[in-house]
Chain length 369, copies 2
């Protein structure tokens, strides 16, 4: 017996067109360790947008004849960047929550329970998934509460784990007013970790002040550099996580860390301070090149940070501890907020698709297939 | 009893002037573990130029009245970058070789021997130094042979140690035709390590071909990107050392590594390959910002690499093994070549000072105080 499911697919063709459509797939019966889940809520995360829309020019987005899908143009430069996916019909959606409708013989007790899931292909009606990629939600949990329990919560907790593993004692985060940023504020409050929050407006400053953040620095202020140095000095932060990626943010953070470290140096050293300054780029909200003005000596490192790499790097006990904390804090520490709820067919309309691609902080859509 | 010594000093004043002059200093008698060395040869390394000339505009270089020193203007932007050294009279010169003229009671057997030294303040007549910062040269060794036995040899060997410690199996190096680059070619030949040499001209290609380098890629060629990818594919290099720093070289290397890794991927992954691509920036031949075009996914790291940090990170046995190898290969693997020999007073003339600042590959001056 199989289960028929509608699944959102993204395809980029060799002639430079992105196409989004719903594909009917057949899911086999769950085997041992597997669940068949009816998807009830899936967020549109910034980390989903790259696969969903690729480098398509959203101004060229049009409804296909018959309304069966959307198409948009991809520039030649954009096409070169995604040559590895050309012609492939790719399922989309990193995470979701839903109800178990069938299960392998060893998981039959979970039928009827709600679970949170990670693993791709979540913008669909059903998902066949291994139990290892699920968190079983408490009885009575709403689908919306469980939809975003993997990507943002584990990323925010991953920052703290990374901080501890690498011997730092405070964190700089940009942009800090995102759903993830707000989670990080709450985690750091609970754990007593000094956190420097970089935001882009006074409204965002107010938002974070409202949830109890202490060190908030507005990058749109003239005093940004001085404010950042002051916050870094106050917290002792030598580690940063930056989802902006493009432009000068990472460089500004490292230079501010170096300026603070230099004040404590006894003599001049043309190679800079011996304080290790570490930044991780974990997103690409700004897809322009990163500009590094290397005024921060020679004791620094910038790396990519990817949740999936991080999860592979930690042991099973740490994984379990992190997931338990996420389930416990589902409606508090790790609560997400959504701008609007849309159906899968809704997503295949030009207005809603375009709205989803606006990477505005605080804007987040929830798909209810 | 003390020893009088003329020592080259570099000072930047608050009103934006760089001044170079000779200062007379008194060195105390060597204590236990110390040597007093008459300096006979000291190289002008790229790593010395930052301290020596700072961000001064060399076009404004003039001889002081009476010929006692040189002065040059520092721009306001340049001044901001070196505010930590303003007003300090700083000794210059990372390494040198010379003859031991006096020694602490436990080191008396070394009087009359030639040593190579590291530790700064080497552009001088004499240097009081700890035995730990010296390599005792074989009997009959020339001063010129021992002058450059620390910075370049230990840096080149440090690249190989770093490669092994971090689990890589090949190296990309830019710019590869330097004295250091040639050493690295010879080390990698001896150790059987695949090395991708990035050069900037056909003349440099010929030079490296002449000493037996296999993979040479010319960044001035139209086919640079394709050539680099081919060499990276052939060697399996996932580690790079780049002394250029500014511009796009580091980014180009990482993108080439990613292109090679992507060819081996089974399916498309919008986060890029899971191959860790590591680049170290160990110099600043190009002081412009580094531009990162992040087409290399999320599994990457770029860091500063500094000899002094590296030496602090390794154990005593590794230090000893590296120094013994350098002494053994003084006139072969680790031989340096100099454009010209100049005295300390020569260095305080506008023509020679300007010539020293030209960071042209293959140009290297030896100071004979």
């Amino acid at each position: 017996m199989t289960q028929t499911s509608q699944e959102l697919r993204s395809t980029i063709t060799a002639d430079g067109m992105l196409r989004l459509h719903l594909e009917q797939v057949e899911l086999s019966d769950p085997g041992p360790g597997q669940l068949l889940v009816r998807i009830e809520a899936a967020p549109v995360n910034p980390s989903d947008l790259g696969l969903l829309f690729g480098p398509a020019d959203m101004d060229t987005l049009t409804l296909d004849d018959g309304g069966s899908g959307l198409s948009a143009r991809v520039s030649d430069a954009g096409l070169a960047a995604v040559r590895a996916r050309i012609g492939q019909s790719l399922p989309v959606g990193n995470e979701a929550a839903g109800t178990v409708v069938a299960a392998g013989p060893d998981q039959a007790h979970l039928i009827g329970r709600r679970v949170a899931m990670i693993g791709g292909a979540m913008y669909a009606e059903f998902r066949l998934i291994g139990i290892d990629a699920c968190i079983v939600l408490p009885e009575g949990a709403k689908a919306a509460d469980g939809a975003s329990l993997f990507v943002n919560p584990l990323t925010a907790l991953g920052f703290v784990e990374t901080m501890r593993a690498e011997g730092h004692s405070a964190i700089v985060h940009a942009p800090a007013a995102s759903n993830l940023g707000q989670m990080l504020v709450r985690i750091c409050q609970e754990d007593g970790i000094p956190l420097v929050n970089i935001v882009r407006s006074t409204a965002q400053t107010d938002l974070l002040r409202g949830i109890g953040a202490t060190h908030i620095v507005d990058s749109s202020a003239d005093s940004f550099t001085a404010d950042l140095e002051q916050a870094i000095e106050a917290t002792g932060a030598t580690l940063a996580f930056d989802a902006i990626g493009g432009g000068e943010m990472t460089s500004q953070i490292l230079n501010a860390m170096e300026a603070v470290a230099a004040r404590k140096m006894e003599g001049y050293d043309r190679y800079g301070s011996a304080t290790l300054k570490q930044a991780y780029i974990y997103g690409a909200l700004d897809t322009r090149p990163s500009i590094l003005r290397r005024g921060f000596g020679f004791t620094w490192s910038i790396g990519g940070w990817l949740l999936f790499n991080f999860l592979r790097s930690i042991d099973a006990d740490t994984q379990k501890r992190m997931r338990a904390r996420v389930a416990d804090g589902m409606t508090t520490t790790f609560a997400s907020h959504y701008t609007a709820t849309v159906s899968l067919p809704d997503l295949l309309t030009t207005d809603i698709a375009r709205a989803c691609t606006k990477k505005a902080t605080g804007q987040k859509y929830l798909i209810v297939p």
